[in-house]
Symmetry: D3
Subunit: 183 residues, 6 copies
């Protein structure tokens, strides 16, 4: 059981690790845990917009896709040009005493290979989570995000993902509560 | 589709809302998004420690259990004595234009009723997420958490939850990487 | 005397509670204590711009008007649609062992009823405090505040309040030190 | 009227200036606005524990006692050994176009001279505000505050102030809500 | 040796003291340690752009030029109108038990007098460090910095400094990694 | 000249990158710029405690030793087990258009090889900077640092470094100002 407690504390540290891309963007901040939550909810939504999806797999992929970053750190575009991270080794050590460790590795592998329907959607959800943050920063006055939005939008592959991105770009980040505001 | 963008931006704001209990504890901080992520991963683990569990339901419950707090705010123990929040109304407005909105309401209702096996486990995961934070704060020098730990531990109901709590209490928060440290 | 120490520690926690509206605005941050201070100083000024004002009452109203939020939390526009807070009960518990507790309740009641001259001015000071923050955020590059400024300005009722708002809108937030800057 | 807007924006910046003593203490943080609010509320309480007090004067002194720090900065014990701040000049410039500027200067002068009953109480409230913060930091695990508590306590002069300090030291910072906690 | 440990801990506190000018600017934040590092690196660069420079002196001046602020605090433009800081006394106490204390005082004196080639370059580096921060804030959406940029640029005196300023103003803060970005 | 501006902006980002080790320690925070400043000042001191030292080289090594982390990120003990960072490539790109780029690479190489007297001292200064932070955290109430202090102390190699470490461990972090405190 000790291995379960260690696994959970390792997962917990994703709350304390901020995503390094925002430093280079010059505005915004987000922990890996926060990113993973929003991405998992985008997958929750996708799983209901699409048919014949293994919902559990899609959502679980989002939850586990960045677990290895507890050990490798969050490498952004610049970092990746200079660092080779051995995610397989990190995931191996993270899961090797866990009875269901193989499950976790399989989910991450499927995500990284990006071949199954679920993996394609999850990979789009990863980008959509970032697009939403860029849109919010842009809506609230930051300069910089507007430059990266078209680049990140181009990464989205699935029809479902593209539909979501389009509607996000047409919607102000605070419309859900600010529209119809009355005193 | 506009309703989907609005739903996602509403979910996104859970990254910006901090849990009010830590102010009263006097140390620590956590967004609702971070709490929901850790809780969802505890459910992911529970779903594999137990048999005959609807895994998708268990994990999804964790993801959606606090969504209404985007509209109601995060009410802690003290707040609840003075505020009545209409979570049903909040969830209703959050989901009423969403094709699968009924699904989301059902998940939250099942969680709140706490009768099914999945709901019992998810409710324990909610407490375990808090126990892990108290344990970490206590391990790193905060005074206060040690007083609340037994109270929160007493809330845990399932055998699976109790097992996890026991092993968490026997494990230092940094053991996963600090044990076996060598230069 | 114990009740006095408890009252003061309860007041102290208003330093640690941030006003929830700024999360929804997308920029800025402010504790309830900071808001109450600025509002009290606006009342201090109003008390001297107007004649025949009970100055002590006006200033004291500003200081105590949000005390109940230690127990109810800070409910913003969205929250109020879904939460009913029992401010009377909160204030009752806050003051029931305090010899001058009745005084405090009376001040808050008068403020909430908004009928006396002092209450009208204090209520305007509450809005002006928010207008000043929106103005500063707007002056320093945030997008969003410019949308809310006319709405909040419309809430101001007294001639004195309106005069202050007009001059604030015509003044840059840093004019007090930046004008006449010389090397 | 422009001078009023400038005065209010100058007051507003006290929200953004943190008290420098906490850097040297090694824990805690507080804006001048937050400090002034808590001190004003201690004066509000003192004004009701004592008889024959000019309440408005006592509370107003707390509100204005640190206004000059917008221009001089917050000088702590160490700073004061090396910096001479001309508070009179700062207050002069802050108030010279304000019709009731003389009132403000008089309040600060009376506070600094510390001769009247109200000034003595306000000066004690200044220290009690700091004692409360040290007590809270000490209660929640910080090392350091316990060393400074007796020194700051010794500065308190009035009977009323001493009574308050004694009861604060006998009371845990969270007793107001944590005592009588029940699930 | 005790005096060496005390000196180093005094230097360490420059990490915890934020530069007060950013509060008045309304955006950005920087510790004195961070400012001194960037300024020292600008001097490192200048020492290689120019010939016949005492490199060690130039770089060391940057490192020590703000040491006295541990004792005097960081006084900005407004503060300096109302506070006289005795930097000589502060440096005297900082260095009086240090065998090489005289060296440190001499470096600061030479910097403040601004007569030698190295002092002129170091003084420009001080301004360039601020210009870089204003440029970054402006590039990322802050309003305010664009007003101060020409004023601070005017302070730069040396040919070398002017050349660096010109190229900084022509370069986006993120060009070093964002140009040539490709997926 | 464009390459100089890019170099300086790349150096500037070290202010925005926090050292990842503190997340795993559970308390404290520090930017790479802050760490580099303190380390450079320790080298400044060492350069004067020792004889026959190339002072400029020793101090410059401290300033440049972590420059590559702008591109590679700050890899802590855990990260290094799973990531191989190509510091040479990062430094190459950082310096390839800089006329004195070779100088910078040579300094970092000498530091990393740790063979010269200056490199040995600089490497000790790197560790001493961390020891000072652990000591401060421990002095102010954090639990955790006391476990790592002996491990980090063991890394110090030079006589000069060992002397400094010993006196730091015998000195409270606030002794420089708190000793001899008098009202």
């Amino acid at each position: 059981m000790k291995s379960i407690a260690n696994l959970l504390f390792e997962i917990r540290i994703l709350k304390d690790i901020t995503r390094s891309g925002y430093t280079f963007l010059g505005s915004g901040t987000e922990s890996i845990a926060e990113h993973s939550f929003v991405m998992a909810m985008i997958c929750f939504v996708m799983a209901r917009m699409e048919t014949q999806i293994d919902r559990e797999k899609l959502i679980s992929m989002a939850l586990v896709h960045d677990l290895a970053e507890a050990r490798t750190g969050d490498l952004n575009y610049v970092h990746k040009r200079y660092c080779k991270s051995d995610e397989k080794k990190a995931l191996g050590h993270l899961t090797d005493k866990i009875p269901f460790g193989r499950d976790m590795v399989d989910l991450v592998d499927e995500f990284n290979e990006g071949k199954t329907r679920e993996a394609c959607l999850a990979r789009d959800a990863d980008q959509i989570s970032f697009i939403m943050e860029l849109k919010k920063l842009s809506d609230t006055g930051a300069a910089g995000p507007e430059r990266w939005l078209p680049i990140v939008m181009d990464r989205v592959q699935t029809g479902c993902g593209k539909q979501i991105v389009q509607t996000i770009m047409e919607t102000s980040w605070d419309e859900w509560w600010a529209d119809g505001y009355s005193e």
